[in-house]
Amino acid sequence: MDRRDLLAGAGAFFGVSLALPLARALAAPGFAASQPLFTQDQQALVAAVSDRIVPATDTPGAVAAGVPQFIEMMLADWYAAVDRNDFLSGFATLEAVARGRHDRAFAAITPAQQDVILTDAMANTLPALPPRFFEHVRQIVLLGYYTSETGCRQERIYLPLPGRYDGAYPYATGTKVFSS
């Protein structure tokens, strides 16, 4: 085999046109929740929390990257029941705090109001919140975002086939970093 043929083939294989394999894969375990877990209200809540943790900036945010669906899949099919219940109870607490303070759902209050509640959650000052709930939510949002195609290809630079290793690659603070 000629090396350039292989590279050309690999370019197509590792490139963008993955719609078909992805469509097939979505039916397999580990891509979408095997059965719906969230109510509509929970979907809206998880979406709102996700987008405050990783908001849209000059690149898309968590919702555009499909993070809420990722979280639903992980809670439905990955976590043990005790951890799933902690998550759901923590989300319920956030919802109750929003309704108590603003008489509206978390998803319906302003981003600034949402941030105040999340800051309280981070500081562990909300009663009845499971321990380390905020950090767990933060971690699963970051995992979902930075392993998403959006996170890898838009927020970071995705190198499916680097072709070389440079151990002294010029880098300026604040520029994009490489995804896994």
Binding site: G30, L143, S148, R164, Y165, G167, T173, G174, V177
Partner: protein, 560 residues
């Protein structure tokens, strides 16, 4: 009339080499593997996929890991990019007392661990061949460096090893392609460590990931993806699929049967010959005996011993290959759960990061007990360090825009190492057969293996020396820890059919022939009489090629 000239049991690193060498020298060969077929390129389902295309984004649910991969998880089976290349521990169990765990990490496919190995390829030196004789542990090696050196060259040239010629007597140079380069952080540490502590060396890890093409083999240089364990369509790293299997197939002398478990060997006691290989088709449960003039047993160290232990005469409970009484004894592994790390405090490196994902790192070769026993060493033999330098992403706290933008930054340059230490051969570290049987009726393998004082002292020394080296090199925030050292963890399990000159004190001779059956060659890790501290696969390759050369000469002169 035999079915084949030779039967090769197992298709991993050793079996693949046996099949290549024997078929190229004109023998009709049957290669058997208990696992499923994996074809090069075609059967690498996760190759080239982004994180978002991997099930669960790369991590199998913990409940599934514990159910099916309770031991294989120590080799990475919980990563969904490679789970399909590991043994299911629930379906294929083994046994040990709860107080003496052994982490047996197995593959279950043609190609064996060659698809998922760490690819570190280091030569033994005379120092390590002499060790058993010098300090009296285990069975003395009947071969030395000069016996194996040409075979190292032979297998290195074919496999494609990238490394630098470092000129160190304890780690002989080989036939190398250019190394994968060190990064800025590693070069920084190398310069300062070697200046501050003469005798300590930081070198490129020597690795079976090519930096130059081998078009004659249809193999191309590494693309620096660092996703080797998914399989590599470039054939950039050595595996059975990329390297030895195509060579063996090219001869038209190879028959390969996947899904065939070998349960034991038939034996003619009068003529001291293996007369048949007992198999079970794992799909149909059909039993069949295949015959050949010679047999190469390369089923992986522990499985090869398993097969030998289960080769018992009708009604007997003792293996026909155990006239020495040493079959299944001297089971070893490296200990490796000592970690040292530090941060490089040099703002001059702030403007540098790494491009690409290098599939290897750096190595600190053994420096202890090189020239006789060190005065301050409370242990015999030594250890090396495998490590890597680099920069992680920054880890800003909080949430929102500032955190997201903060994640675009790198943290400081760091370097970290794991010590890999030699484990002494202990006669009472043993494998035996259980009264319980598996789904094919084969008795379970039982491990009774522990690390002892010498290993513990060496790990403590590695922790002290490792910290001292990083501090001497000028690193800051230097830290270290030891996790529980559990045998099997290094996936360098060895021994059980040790090599030696004396048939009363060893299981195979210096050509890897069983003392009890000269037409049986055991060339995988089972034959090892000691472990040295370096990764063993390259030595299995060289021993296998050497034994195959010998075997064919004996066949052609009708000595076998």
């Amino acid at each position: 009339m035999s079915d084949f000239d030779a039967i090769v049991i197992g298709s991993g690193i050793s079996g693949g080499w046996a099949a290549k060498e024997l078929t190229e020298k004109g023998l009709k060969v049957l290669m058997l593997d208990r696992g499923r077929m994996v074809e090069h390129r075609k059967d690498y389902p996760t190759e080239g996929k982004g994180p978002w295309e991997l099930a669960y984004r790369g991590n199998l649910p913990p409940a599934e890991v514990e159910r099916d991969y309770s031991n294989a998880k120590w080799g990475g089976a919980g990563s969904t990019d490679r789970t399909h290349f590991f043994n299911n521990d629930r379906l294929n169990p083994y046994d040990y007392e709860a107080s003496k765990p052994f982490r047996w990490v197995r593959p279950d496919q043609v190609g064996g661990k060659s698809l998922i190995w760490g690819r570190v390829s280091l030569r033994w030196s005379q120092l390590s061949f002499d060790a058993n004789k010098v300090d009296g542990h285990g069975s003395p090696w009947p071969i030395g460096y000069d016996d194996i050196a040409p075979w190292y060259s032979y297998v290195e040239s074919f496999a494609g090893i990238a490394g630098a010629r470092d000129g160190l007597p304890q780690l002989p140079d080989g036939e190398f392609q250019p190394p994968h380069p060190m990064n800025a952080g590693e070069l920084w540490v190398k310069a300062r460590l070697e200046a501050a502590m003469p005798g300590r060396h930081l070198i490129n890890t020597r690795v079976a990931n090519m930096t130059q093409d081998k078009p004659e083999q249809g193999r191309f240089r590494c693309q620096e993806r660092n996703q080797c364990a998914r399989g590599c369509s470039f054939g950039a790293y050595f595996s059975t699929q990329s390297s030895t299997l195509p060579a063996a197939r090219k001869t038209n002398n190879l028959t390969l049967l996947s899904d065939h478990l070998v349960t034991g060997l038939d034996y003619d006691r009068r003529h001291k010959r293996v007369t048949g290989v007992r198999t079970i088709d794992t799909n149909t449960q059909e039993a069949r005996v295949y015959t050949s003039r010679i047999v190469f047993l390369c089923a992986s160290a522990m499985s090869s011993v398993h097969i030998l232990l289960n080769s018992r005469a009708e009604g007997g409970d003792r293996s026909v290959f155990d006239s020495s009484g040493l079959l299944g004894k001297y089971i070893m592994d490296h200990s490796m759960r000592t970690t040292v790390y530090g941060v490089i405090p040099d703002p001059a490196l702030d403007g540098l990061a790494t491009y690409g994902r290098r599939p290897t790192g750096v190595y600190i070769p053994r420096f202890r007990n090189l020239d006789g026993q060190d005065a301050d060493a409370d242990f015999v033999r030594g250890y090396g360090f495998q490590g890597e330098g680099g920069r992680r992403n920054a880890e800003p706290a909080g949430f929102g825009k500032a955190m997201k933008e903060g994640l675009r930054n790198h943290g400081p340059w760091q370097i970290g190492f794991n010590a890999f230490a030699e484990c002494l051969p202990y006669k009472d570290n043993v494998l035996t057969l259980s009264s319980k049987t598996d789904r094919f009726g084969m008795p379970l393998l039982v491990f009774d293996v522990t690390f002892r004082d010498n290993e513990a002292r060496m790990m403590n020394d590695a922790q002290r020396q490792g910290e001292a080296m990083l501090k001497a090199a000028g690193l800051v925030n230097v830290g270290s820890h030891q996790d529980e050292h559990v045998p099997g963890d290094a996936i360098h399990e060895m021994g059980g059919a040790c090599m030696g000159a004396d048939p009363r004190a060893s299981v195979v001779n210096k050509w890897n022939q069983a003392h009890d059956a000269p037409n049986l060659f055991v060339t995988d890790g089972a034959c090892m009489a000691s472990t040295n501290c370096v990764n063993p696969s390259l030595t299995y390759m060289a021993l296998t090629a050497r034994a195959a050369d010998r075997a064919v000469k004996l066949v052609k002169t009708n000595a076998l």
